[in-house]
Each structure stands twice: as C-alpha cells, then as structure tokens.
Symmetry: C2
C-alpha cells in the first residue's frame, strides 16, 4: 500500500514536470504585458478603494474587520498539508481556508501596500509550488471529476479561481525568480491538470466545466497566455463545442434560468460572473455581458427571483438554508450593480449585508450609504427551461395578501444528475414560511460522520424519488422509473401561464413520466377583492391506458390540527408504507377513508397561520405518513405528509384548494379563525372551459374559470353556465366572486 | 332543555337583583370621595402624559398608533353578545376584546378629553349592565371556577380588572344616573359574583384568587367602598386567612419565586402589580411595595431571571413561546422602573418593545430615549421554593462561553395542579436555543378544535409524566405515582449551590418521589480557562431498597448525527415503548446495547452547533424514542429522546457530560469540529469528595472535584488522589485543568 502510493507519487511528479515543459513550449505569449492586478480588481479600483478606506463608512468598516481577521490569521504558521481528507476533513478545510486567506491577503496588499501581505501569499504559494508536483490523485477521490489537493477536481478549480486572483494582486511585489517558482510549481501545473489532464470535465457543458474554464481562463490573463484564455473560452481544441462560451449558450435559458435549479444556479453563477468580469476588464471588445442578449445579467437577477423570504426555492438537490446572502450571489449582485446601477439590486445587497472589497463593492457601499436602494420587484414569472426556453418551465406565482405569498410550479426539464423525479410538483410559501414543502437534498454538507458530508444514500432512495414531492405517483414507481437519462431526454409542456390582478395561473402536461399515462396539472394562486382571502387551486388530471393506482402527496409543514373525517390513526405500532421508490422510508401513521363530499385537513405552521386543504372527495383514501422508516442512521428529517390515494382507475382528477387563514398567537394569547371558511368545492368543465366552484360557510360562492385552449389570447371570449346561470369572461382566466 | 335553561336564567336574574340590594345595604361608604382616575393612572400621570403626546418621541408614537387602532374599532357597532362559546370561540374572544377596548378608550378619553371615547365606554357598559343581571352560569363552564360572561370565573375577574380601570378613567364624564346604571347593572354584580358568590375562589391562596381579589379591591377604590377593599385584602370574613395579603405571604418565596413556575408566575404577576399599584396610589400608608421585604419587586425581577433568550423556562404547564415580552411583565417592568429607576430594567423594556400609556410607561419611554439603559445582569441563582424558601429550589446555572449558556435544575416543590412530576429534572440552553428540552404543556391555547383550546388529554397522559422530562423514572411509573396531593406534600432538599468563576454547581436529593428510593443529582456547568470549551456534568445517583428498573431520558433538540455504538434501529415497524405513564406515547425507534467504556451520542441543533453526550457505560441500554404513539388526533409534537436504561439494580449511578462543539454552516458551506473532543470519562468518590475525570482526544485530562458534605464553607480544605497523584482544593468545587 505504502509502496504503491509512493510509486504513484513519483510517477505523478514526473508527469507534472513533463507538463510544465509542454506548456512552456506551447504557451502562446501575448504581445504586451498587462499591468497587475487586472482581473476582477483593477488598478483604478485599487486607487478608488485606497481613497475609500480612509473615510468612515461601510467600506472602511468592512476593510477594518477583514484586515483584523487577516492579521490574526497571519500570526499563525503557514500550513499546506499533504492532501488526505474528504470534504469536511482537516486537509480539505485547510486548503479551502488557504485560498480564501491568500485572496484576502492579496486584497490587503493592494489596499495597504504593506509587503507583509504579499510575502505571506508568496510564501504560501512557494509551499504549494513545492507540494503540488509531488501529488498523486487525491486518496479519497470518489467522482469522475478527480482532484489532487482536493478529493474533487471541482474544489481544485475553485482553489485556482481564488489563487490566481491572489497571485494577480501580489505580482507587483514579486521578483522574476519568485514568479517563475510559483508559476512553474503551482499555477501552471494546476491549470494544466484542470485542462489538458481533465478534458472530460474541462470540455463539459456543466458547472464543473465552468469552474475549470474560469480558473484556466483567468490564469491565461494573468500569465499573459492567450492560448489558455482561448481554450477556456472555446474548449481544449478551440472547437467551440465546449468551453465557457458554449456553457453560456447552453447552461442558461435566454432568461438566465439554469437547468439544475436555483441551488446550483447560484453555485454555477460564481465562475460565470467572475470570469466574465475578468474578460470584460481584459478584452472589453468581447462585450461578454452583452453576449446572448445579456444572459449573464439575467442569470443574476433570475437567481434572486428564484427565492422567497431570502431563501432559494429548494427544488432538486438543494440545501434548504441556502439563500440570497450566499457569497456567489453577493459577487453577482455587486458586478451587476457595477454594470447597471439598478437600484433594486441595492435592496438585495442590503439583505445580503456583506460588502465586497473590490471596485464594484465600493460602488454598492457608497450607493447604500446614499440611500439609493429601492424595493426589489419580485413578480410572477414562468422561466422557460432549456437553452431555447422550450423544455418546460419553472413557474413562480406570487401575490401580496397579508404578506408575500408564492406558489411554485415545477414543470421543468430534469436538470441532469442533481435533478429530482418530480414533474409537475408544487410548493407553497406564505407569511415568510414554507407551507407545502419540498425535502430538498438529503445531505449534511461537510459533516464527515454523515456519509462523509456527501449526498446521503437516502438522497437517492428518498429525496429524489417522486413520492418525496407534491406530485402524482403512479403504481408506487417514480417518474421515468428514476432513470436520469430518460428524465433528461423528456420534459413537460407548459400549456399556459397567465398573470392577472386576482389570478396567477399556469398549467403543464407530461406524457413521458409514465408510459401510457398523461399528467396535466393546473395551479392557480388567487386573491379575493377585499384581499382578506387567498386560495391556491390545484387541479391534477391523470389519464392512463389502463387501471392503475395514483398517489398525490401533500408534504405539509406544521402541526396537524384537525380533519373533517376520522383519521384512522394507528396507535400501537406503525410500519413502512411500501418497499421501494421512497415509500420504504415513510411510516404509515394513519389511514382514512373520508365519506363526506369534501375532505378537509387543517394544519398550523410555525408562522402562526392555519392552512386548510379542502379536496373534492372522489373516493380517495388519505394516508398520513412520517419519514423515518428504513433509516438505520437517523439520516432523514421526520417530516410529515398526507397522500390522497385512488386504486384501480384509468382516469382520475384530484381537485383541491389550499386556504391560509387565521392566527395562532400563544404569546399574546389569542387565536383567530382556526377553522376553514369553505363548505363546498366542485369542479366541472364545458369544452375547453374548466371551472371550480367554492362555497363558503357564510353562504357565498365564488367561481374560478379558465379556458385551457392553446390559442387563447387577451380578447378570447368564453361562456359557460352553472345550474342555468350563465357566465362569460375575456382572456385566459377570471374569478367570479360572490355569485 | 330549553325550558330548564330559561328557568335557570330567570332564577339567576332574581339572584343578581337580590345581590345588588344586599350590596347597597351593606356597602361601607368611605368618608371622602377620591377624584378619578385613581388606580394605576392618576390625575398627575394624566397631566404629564398630555404634555408628552404633543412632543415627538416613543410615547407620542405609541399614543398615535393606539389612538388610530381605537378610532378604527370605534367605527364598528358595539357588540356585547350573550355568552355561548368556550375559550377561542366567538363570544369569548369578543368579550375579551371588549374589555381591552374599553380600557384603551378610557385612556384615550383622559389623554384627549374627547368625550366620544367616554361615551363609547359608557354605552358598552350600559349593554353589560343590561345583560349581566340576566346571565346564568356560562353554558360551557368546565372548571370549579365558573363564570357568567366567560366559561371560567378567571376570565370574569380579568374582565373586571380591565373594566374597572376603564370605568375609573371615564367617570369624570358620566352623570350620576349613568354611574348608577353601570354600577348597579354591571360593576357591583360582577364584583359580587367574584367575591360573595365565588368564595372558594376568592378566598383561595392561588392565582385565580389574586385576579378576583385585585378586581374586587380595585372596584372598592373606584366605588369608594372600603369594605370591598378590605375583603380583597383580607378575605370575605376579613380573617386574613385568605385575601391579597395572604396571597403575597404565601404564593411567592422571599426572593419572589412563584411556586407554579415562570409561566404562571408572569400570569399571576399581573393582578399583583396592578392591584399593588392601585393600593400604593390610594393607601400609600400601607407601603405595599415594601411588604415582606419588597417581595413584589423581587417577583418582577425574578420573572425576568426565569428566562433565556427572552423566553421563560418552560417547566410545568407552560406554553413555550411565552417570554419576557408578555404584557403582564411589560406592566411589571414599567411599575418596577417607576419605583426604582433601575437602569437594567430598561434593557428588558427595550426587548419588550412596548410602551405603556400610563405614568410609569412615560417614565420608561423618556429613559429609553435618554439612553439610560444598561445591560440586565442575568446570573446563576438558586431560587428557594415555598413561602419560606425551604421547599427545594429552582436552580439556574449560567455562564458566557461563546454566547450565553444556561443549565436549569428543577429541584422545586410540586407547584400545585399545574406542576409536572419531574423532580430533579434539568434542561440546557446554548447559543440562543433549547438543547436538552422540556415538552412544556400539551396544549394549543384557544384553538377550539384542539380540545377546546384547553390542556389536551395528553397533557396528563404524557406532558406531566416523569418520562416526559430529563429525570430518572423508576419501574416505568411517575414520581409520586403522578398524584398531585402527594407531590404537593413532598419536595426535594437542595444540598448545595455554588457559583465560582469556572464552575456553577448544584445538588439535590429526594427520597419521596418513590417509596424506598433516594434520588440524588448533581449538575455542574463548567467552562475551561481559555473559554474555548464548556461542559455540563450530570451525576445521577439512585439508591433503592430493592432491585428496580431505572430510566434516564435525555430529550434532545436537534438531529441525531452519530453515536459510537450500533443504534439497533428498527427499520420496518415500530411500536409503543410502554403501556402507561407516558411510555405509551413514545415510539421505540432503536434499542442499543453499547459495549465501549463510554457511550457517545452527537446531535446537531438548528442553532448550528453540535452537542455530544458522553456517558460512562455502566451497562445501560440506550433506547431512542419519538413521540406520537397512542395519539389518535396527532396532538403531540413528534419530539425525540434517548433513554439510558438499567434493569434489576438496587443502586445505579448515571454519569455523563454534555459538550457543545463545532459549527454547521450549510449556508456559508463549512463545518467545524463535528466530533466530540472527549475520549474518556470516569467517576469516583473518596468520602464526601466526588470527582469526574474527563480525557480529551488531544491527550489532556481535566478533573472536576467537589465536596458534597453539608457543612462545606469557603475555607474547607479537601484532598483526594487519583492513581497516586494527589489533589487538593478549597471550598465546594474546583476544576483541575490539564492535569
């Protein structure tokens, strides 16, 4: 074991040295040497920042705090350990700290011109220059994207994105020999490893590829090596089949939606905006921020749009505590503000509460101090998925009824390996909280004792499965049978999206999630004229070629308060609901067979509001579940759901409304409207016109009606009648109140 | 049914009219009529407040906001419905709103002298004067303490406490006839109902009695009826066996600790401080705030002391979201500040964020604006329980190690009917959060569909039982066999309490919780010299006259991360842990038999910190449970615990430490120190000297040593030796670091 490792290391050294030679021979040297720094921070930025740090204010505060932190770190010995640990382990975290520290020290050098900081970066880079050529592939490597300093090449690229900026910042303080030592021993070998030695990642149109191309391209600018820049932009063969530009073409929709979803969108954003800023500084003639109709700026605002109460919508593999204050989006917002001076971005910058020590960061700090901030405008939007926005859509319905509300409708494409199998799922947010929830990823990020901090096995066996989401599951199997390839090859069709004052509505269809089965869902977020009431309508139609079982779960966040039927609770013992596809992780706590015309379930969220789910009873059983079965290491959160189930049916229509109401205030000791206001619910259609009648306990009735035809426009007239009373409306949808 | 109700009502009317006559005859009229208002708000307060509301500031802001709210309410018709609903229902909430509104309108009348407000109060009181004499006992009455307007007489007393103040405020605007109509129809009959007609409550030394005596006594001052005042102070027979003064003698300890615990302490506080303020204004010669060495002021600060991160310690029946911003404590703090001008109270007032529109409220507002606030000093304290502080104690151990920490040790008396059966239980709080938790009360306050908003059946069957707490349960039966009378007749003995810089420690014993069994627990909160580490030591000794089973649960708040033993998780189905005494509500999720010398369990709290429990393995099984079994209506929160169990032993010593460590920050994507730093734990004693050796993974060792003898003082010398190494210390306790 030792022998083989040692042998590998020797081989690795030889390879690395060989590479250096190759690069030195092939590296195309640009005609003029740019002055440094010349990446995200430029010399004119430095001049402005040096002026700002002597004036009291946000920027100076940030500078002082950062300087104190860096100074404290610089009293400690430099540690560049031989890589050993996986994510969360000591060497992993140490190397992450190192690049962050080099970057900060580089900034401090430029702001203070105190050579002490430059010396620190130099000395640490010397250590890397000595170590790197000796490194074999990382002993804990797991993925196809391998690293040397880190277990994943992805981390290695992130290391270089930071380190090349740090190097750029301190270059003016280095001698030629010092630069040669660092570039030969560390910078070029890492860039070479990330590019020539990792072609499948470097050329890949994927966020791992973007980190690699950004790292290598920025290195090209700093080393004045246009060959590296061009490979980064166009791929290793400069074929434009891969590379940064191709990534920009394909990874975002025209509106800047990233197809893995918001959690990875914000992560992917970082190398995009950082490298783009460097391109803008070095080759402004490329007009990179205007590329594809300004897709990069759109990607930044779209990342913001994909949030509620500062947290990202947790679709696909997502850590749910990630939000708009993530450092990647801090960089994005700052760069976007630098380019656009859009005052709404200052609202986001203020919520982020972090000032960046760079030129655009200074602009933001000054603008915040000048009170230029205006409220960021969140609106209802359908983000078409895919590079041409024609692969389904991610739909956000928003309104303000006693606070911001958002209903999310996920009719997107699969989103590659991090995608979940949850076509047409929805979530609901109200009064700052998640009400109808999504599990997100099953993962304790970097907690080594939880499966090395990686995605847990339960991420595959539960979190990605269809039953873990709020969408229909046929015959207890997941969409596309949980096959990523099939998922990536298919997507739903967005039927329509409409945003009116009282109704925000969208519908989508997919016939490929299950063979022989078409799923069509319509979600509408509705507010009533006096703004005292809001409802979410959910109509889910399933049409199959043979009789099957259909399950529609609602993963509710809160404490069950009551139901209008006997819950059928199991009191002495409970068992797993099923054997596979996520069902094996759900305890069956209760099994009800409601008999009234409508089934009602009320829960209370920690936000102090009640939520009542009222469904037309078309014979559905209702199963109440809690997560935790077949979970030997207690990896899953014990979340709750209820599942409406029908068996042996070719067609079925799930019809429900969700109603926020009342207030529970045990601190101030009052409770208001703890019961649903709804007494009846009915659905019908007349041709392409579908309508839902809601009866309230006060005797009033309202009707939501829409025309589902493809060619409906703002002038389309629709007519229908209910019990002899005729109705007509113009356009896609109307709410008839108090009929 | 209808007939009988109608008959009852007629009888009630007659009784009420009769009472009025009796009162008119017997009422002792005081020689001089005091000017109004003369309760909590006096005429000189009014003068100062009228000056303040024309100056910009906190007080004016509060006045304007309140006035706008009152004005809006006054546009609506007066509603005084016939009482019908239980807590949370319409008529209940309406009558609660009415008294609050009358009070506010009364204040507005004094501040604006706009008769419109006085007319409103008058008109509403006319309606009550018409209604009240017609009322039978409330149809939904449940408790022994019955009401007429409300289902509980308690609410009726609260109604009068507010209404009498409102009446006092508007009296100057009323004619003699108007006053007669209101006093004859409403005020006197309610006062009479609360006193003469409810003697068992009125004379009772209990918080319900305090509300009644406060209501009646304040009515006496306003109606100039000294007889009512004296009955309120001394009881109906003026015997001093009951009444307000006796309540002051008995309900609080000398340090102001209320024996039902903080949740009821703050509730009880309201009538105490309000009536005391009225006594102070009307009969200053009684020196009520100096009574019993100033017990009322101590009760106010003690209420504050019984909190962590603004929330009260949830011992006994307690709604866990109650905290120092509760309106009762706002009143308490304002009155205390008015008397003492203690600047630490302003810290609490600032956290409460509410300004009261009265004379003391104005003082607080001005002091806050003058920035006179200083940090409130929370400290480690043992509050002796009982009127003589000799019935056990409620112990709070506090320190600041990377944030405020508190360990609570409940060695109190039973605390009457709201007391839980959890002698010697503990809780732990760190970094703002509950870490080792207490369920509090099983109740959804005022949520009608949850058992009428009352205490749920599960409050008796689970929340009050011993297993629901962090204390030893013998043979699966609760302390005192869950008998309140036996519990009230017995209490633990506080052995010692010591507060040193590095160690806060306390120990207590009880031999009456189980026949033939003595329980002794020592809890110590310890910080290490460099403040990088803190530990809670828990030593629980059980000595019995025969072999029994001992369970020691830890109700942990957070997600289980790992253990150093096989969990023995049940994957396919789970069953209730037991049949009764709370065990029937716990699912048994895993059953482990650790074999290493120490057993370790780590969990992660939502506060982002890890907590490792390390116990000496003395053969304990460890059972992992989750609440929810035998819970047909989903009334219980699904909280987690692990239970250390030994069977068939006469004596047992549970020895453990709890260790906060590391940080999980998925938002910023780092994880620090997710593993325990402890590698070994051992306990021994040498005579009265007990010590615990903690070994750390870095090779260091520390020893916590204390002398448990009764007569230890600050100069007592103690010696002991470990493996030939001798140690000595002075006083109760010492931490030997890095031995």
């Amino acid at each position: 074991m030792n022998f083989s490792l040692s042998l590998k290391r020797k081989l690795a050294v030889k390879t690395a040295m060989l590479c250096v030679l190759v690069i030195s021979t092939l590296g195309v040297v640009m005609p003029t040497q740019a002055a440094h720094p010349n990446l995200v921070i430029t010399q004119s930025d430095v001049t402005a920042m040096r002026a700002a740090i002597i004036e009291p204010g946000l920027f100076q505060d940030t500078f002082k705090a950062r300087k104190a932190a860096v100074d404290q770190q610089l009293t400690l010995p430099i540690e560049v350990p031989v890589p050993k640990d996986a994510g969360g382990g000591y060497t992993h975290e140490r190397h992450k700290k190192n690049y962050a520290l080099m970057f900060d020290a580089g900034v401090m050098y430029q702001l203070t011109k105190n050579k002490h900081y430059a010396d620190f970066v130099r000395d640490m880079l010397f250590e890397y220059a000595d170590l790197y050529p000796t490194l074999p592939l990382h002993p804990m490597r797991k993925s196809a994207n391998e690293g040397k300093i880190f277990w994943q090449g992805l981390n290695e690229a992130v290391w270089l994105v930071h380190t090349i900026q740090a190097y750029d910042l301190v270059m003016p303080a280095l001698t030629g020999d010092e630069k040669t030592r660092i570039e030969t021993g560390a910078i070029r070998p890492v860039a070479h490893f990330l590019s020539e030695e990792s072609p499948h990642t470097f050329n890949k149109v994927h966020n791992h590829g973007t980190w690699a191309t950004a790292a290598v391209g920025m290195t090209g600018y700093v080393l004045n090596d246009q060959d590296l820049v061009e490979k980064a932009l166009l791929d290793l063969e400069k074929s434009r089949k891969g590379g940064f530009l191709r990534q920009l073409d394909e990874l975002f929709s025209p509106a800047g939606y990233y197809n893995e979803g918001p959690y990875y969108q914000r992560y992917a954003l970082m190398p995009f905006v950082t490298f783009a800023k460097a391109i803008q500084m070095n080759e402004p003639e490329r007009k990179i921020f205007e590329y594809r109709d300004g897709v990069l700026l759109k990607a930044i605002t779209t990342t913001i749009d994909l949030s509620y109460n500062n947290l990202f919508f947790p679709i696909n593999d997502a850590i749910k505590s990630k939000g708009i204050d993530t450092i990647e989006l801090v960089h994005g917002v700052v760069i976007a503000y630098g380019l656009t001076e859009n005052s709404g971005l200052l609202d986001i910058a203020a919520r982020q509460g972090q000032i960046l020590l760079n030129g655009d960061g200074l602009k933001v700090a000054k603008a915040l101090e000048a009170n230029k901030k205006t409220a960021y405008q969140f609106k209802s939007q359908a983000f078409g998925d895919g590079k041409n926005a024609d692969e389904g859509a991610f739909v956000i319905l928003r309104q303000d009824v006693q606070g911001e509300q958002a209903a999310v409708f996920k009719a997107t494409a699969q989103g590659l390996g991090h995608g979940h199998f949850d076509k047409l799922t929805w979530q609901f947010y109200d009064k700052g909280a998640e009400i109808v929830s999504d599990y997100g990823a099953a993962r304790f990020l970097n907690v080594e004792s939880k499966y090395g901090g990686r995605y847990l096995p339960e991420n595959d066996t539960y979190a990605k499965q269809s039953i873990a989401h709020n969408t229909v599951v046929v015959d207890e199997t997941s969409h596309f049978n949980a096959n990523v390839k099939v998922g990536n090859a298919n997507h739903p069709t967005l039927n329509f999206f409409e945003d009116t004052e009282q109704v925000k509505i969208s519908a989508a269809t997919i016939d490929s999630a299950y063979k022989g089965t078409t799923l069509t869902r319509t979600i509408a977020l509705v507010n009533f004229a006096n703004a005292s009431q809001s409802l979410v309508f959910d109509l889910f139609k399933v049409e199959s070629d043979k009789a099957r079982q259909y399950d529609l779960p609602v993963h509710y966040a809160g404490h069950l308060i009551n139901s209008n039927f006997d819950l059928g609770t199991k009191t002495q013992s409970i068992s797993a609901l099923g054997k596979a596809n996520g069902y094996q992780h759900m305890w069956l706590k209760a099994e009800a067979q409601p008999t009234k015309p409508i089934s009602q379930i009320t829960w209370l969220n920690d936000n102090g509001r009640f939520y009542s789910y009222t469904a037309v009873n078309s014979g559905e059983k209702i199963l109440f579940t809690q997560l935790g079965a077949n979970d030997p290491f207690f990896n899953l959160r014990n979340e709750n759901a209820f599942i409406s189930r029908v068996e042996n049916k070719k067609q079925h229509h799930f019809v429900s409304v969700l109603e926020p109401h009342g207030e529970y205030n045990p601190s101030k000791e009052y409770t208001l409207k703890s019961y649903s206001a709804i007494s009846g619910l009915a659905y019908a259609n007349q041709g392409s016109i579908e309508y839902v009648v809601v009866k309230f306990k006060d005797g009033s009735k309202s009707v939501l009606a829409f025309n589902n035809a493809k060619d409906v426009n703002k002038k389309t007239q629709s007519k229908f009648s209910i019990e002899g009373q005729s109705f007509q409306f113009t356009g896609r949808v109307t709410l008839f109140e108090q009929i």
